[in-house]
Amino acid sequence: MIRITVDAEPLEGRDGQTIAGVLIGAGRTAWRTAQTGDRGVFCGIGVCHDCLVTVNGVEGVRACQREAVDGDRVEREVRA
């Protein structure tokens, strides 16, 4: 088990999951605000950049590629 926070809210995930995996496992499918509405995972393999989040203060991290680490602070991104 690992714990991360998403916009300060704690979420539990399984060790080794990507950040997208943890979010989806917790029932969340959207975590980025775009012009036409919220977005989450689309391609799942690092190609489309729809799944971007801020991780520990670093922007533009692909949630589908980044393995979650216990204690990670994840924040939502708002972009056109």
Binding site: D38, F42, C43, E59, R62, Q65, R66, A80
Partner: protein
């Protein structure tokens, strides 16, 4: 599947230096064969683990039922203790000068600040960067809950999760079958699998030479069995033409499609679901091959790296293997990789060890041609787009905006509409934009030419030294931490 035995003398000093980009079936087979031919091998892959798309896995999270040919993977991986392997290595630059090929990568957790710079020099490079899904746009496809078929597959295999509880799978090609199986095993109800091609097209593609399916047949039969066990309906000549919902997926509209993939009026029906997996085929990841100067050929339906019988590209010392030379599945990728790696290491096609891979490659090339005949994208699909349907997801560019500029040269069209200029650099929308332009009377080409190979931080690129080294042993340079606020996509310039 045929393997190639590993000979002696691998990794000797003074041996040919072969760099392999990609750790999927093609890259792994290339590494094994290059080692067998006595080369010093360096393999790079941006993934955290080897295996590529086909053998994507996580020791604890992957359900064993979703893995195929695992023993082959373990054999290939086992040989690599005699090579230098870099996981988590995003290659962002590839160039040739004075007969030396040079790859530059950043190594570390995906998109992290302060990754390590890596430079690899080689006498020959095998490019095996694979493909990604081609999901055609539909009204509503930007709603959360809509993913590519490959994403559904990757999430199930890699993370053990599914996006929704009730999923509709729609698109074209045999890949929809393992995706449906994975969704079911990982716990989603699959409401239906919708294959756009009609029986006529499927029969023309598959029935004349069913023996060519040998090799792939076992796997396909297994998927069909899984569909039956999970009571998943499989419908041909139909597809999702609209996704319903306001904040997330609430359902889809499914319609019958004619032979050109045009929705047949009056056949629409609504189906309730909370997720949709779309896959209309694959598109090759050509960036590195193009950067190294390899010729690309084809038409709007598919452009691939051109290779000869030895898997040589038009660029000196550059070999290509796997999905970037044509979409033919894992067996084709393995066979091509073995040939490419062996030849890159200075081997000969007459070598006895090449007989197996060459035979498999011949059979699988025929398979790829039939795949395209049976499931290739048909031009009528653009008629399911509404005027205000987003085609370029990154920049939210609609069908109408693109069609209005269809007569402009591609570069002007991109600058005026911003289609293809967003974070993904047209990887997701490129083929769709070209189809919309073509349907509106324009003649587009060149969406696959991109200045950026892989997303890296500006700070990381700026800090990379120009130092070179004498062997395939990479130079590692510590680089400064990228500052907060920089985009993960470097200098995404319009072309």
């Amino acid at each position: 599947m045929t393997g190639i035995g590993v000979g002696v003398g691998a990794g000797a000093r003074g041996a040919r230096r072969v760099a392999i980009l990609g750790g999927g079936p093609a890259g792994l087979a290339a590494a094994q064969a290059a080692l067998a031919a006595g080369a010093r091998v360096t393999l790079l892959d941006e993934g955290g683990r080897l295996g590529g798309q086909y053998w994507r896995h996580h020791e604890q999270l992957t359900d064993r039922r979703l893995q195929h040919g695992w023993a082959r993977f373990e054999r290939l991986r086992g040989v690599l203790d005699r090579a230098e392997v870099h996981n988590g290595a995003s290659v962002w630059s590839a160039e040739a000068s004075d007969g030396t090929l040079r790859l530059r990568a950043v190594v570390g957790p995906a998109d992290a600040a302060g990754r390590t710079a890596l430079e690899v020099e080689a006498d020959a490079v095998v490019v095996a960067t694979g493909a990604h899904d081609l999901a055609l746009p539909l009204p509503g496809w930007t709603l959360p809950g809509v993913t590519t078929a490959g994403a559904a597959q990757a999430l199930a295999k890699r993370d053990g999760v599914t996006v929704g509880r009730r999923t509709v799978v729609s698109g074209a090609g045999p890949f929809l079958l393992p995706v449906a199986q994975s969704l079911a095993v990982a716990g989603s109800e699959v409401v239906g699998v919708h294959e756009a091609s009609r029986l006529g097209g499927l029969a023309a593609g598959w029935l004349p030479r069913p023996w060519q399916l040998a090799g792939k047949a076992g796997e396909l039969v297994e998927y069909v069995g899984a569909l039956a066990r999970h009571r998943i309906p499989y419908r041909v000549g139909s597809g999702v033409v609209r996704v319903l919902g306001t904040d997330r997926v609430e359902g889809v509209v499914i319609a019958a499609l004619d032979a050109d993939w045009r929705p047949v009026p009056g056949t629409e029906r609504e189906v309730a679901c909370d997720s949709v997996a779309l896959g209309h085929g694959f598109t090759p990841r050509l960036e590195v091959a193009i950067a190294l100067g390899a010729a690309i050929e084809g038409d709007r339906r598919g452009r691939f790296v051109v290779v000869d019988d030895a898997q040589r590209t038009s660029a000196a010392g550059v070999y290509a293997a796997g999905e970037i030379t044509g979409i033919g599945g894992a067996d084709a990728a393995l066979a091509e990789g073995a040939v490419a790696g062996f030849m890159a290491a200075g081997g000969s096609l007459d070598d006895d060890r090449m007989r197996g891979p060459l035979a498999v490659r011949r059979r699988m090339r025929a398979f790829a041609a039939r795949l395209e005949r049976a499931h290739g994208i048909r031009p009528g699909w653009t008629s399911w787009l509404a005027d205000d349907t987003v085609v370029c997801r990154c920049e939210n560019v609609t069908r109408r905006t693109i069609a209005d500029r269809a007569d402009a040269p591609l570069r002007a069209m991109k600058l005026a509409t911003r289609a293809g200029l967003g974070a993904c650099q047209g990887r997701t929308c490129g083929r769709a934009v070209e189809a919309v332009v073509a349907a509106a009377g324009g003649a587009p080409e060149g969406f696959d030419r991109r200045p950026v190979l892989a997303p890296v931080r500006l700070g990381e690129v700026a800090a990379v030294g120009r130092g070179s080294d004498s062997g395939a042993v990479a130079v590692e340079t510590a680089i400064s931490t990228a500052g907060r606020g920089e985009s993960a996509v470097a200098a995404a310039e319009p072309q």
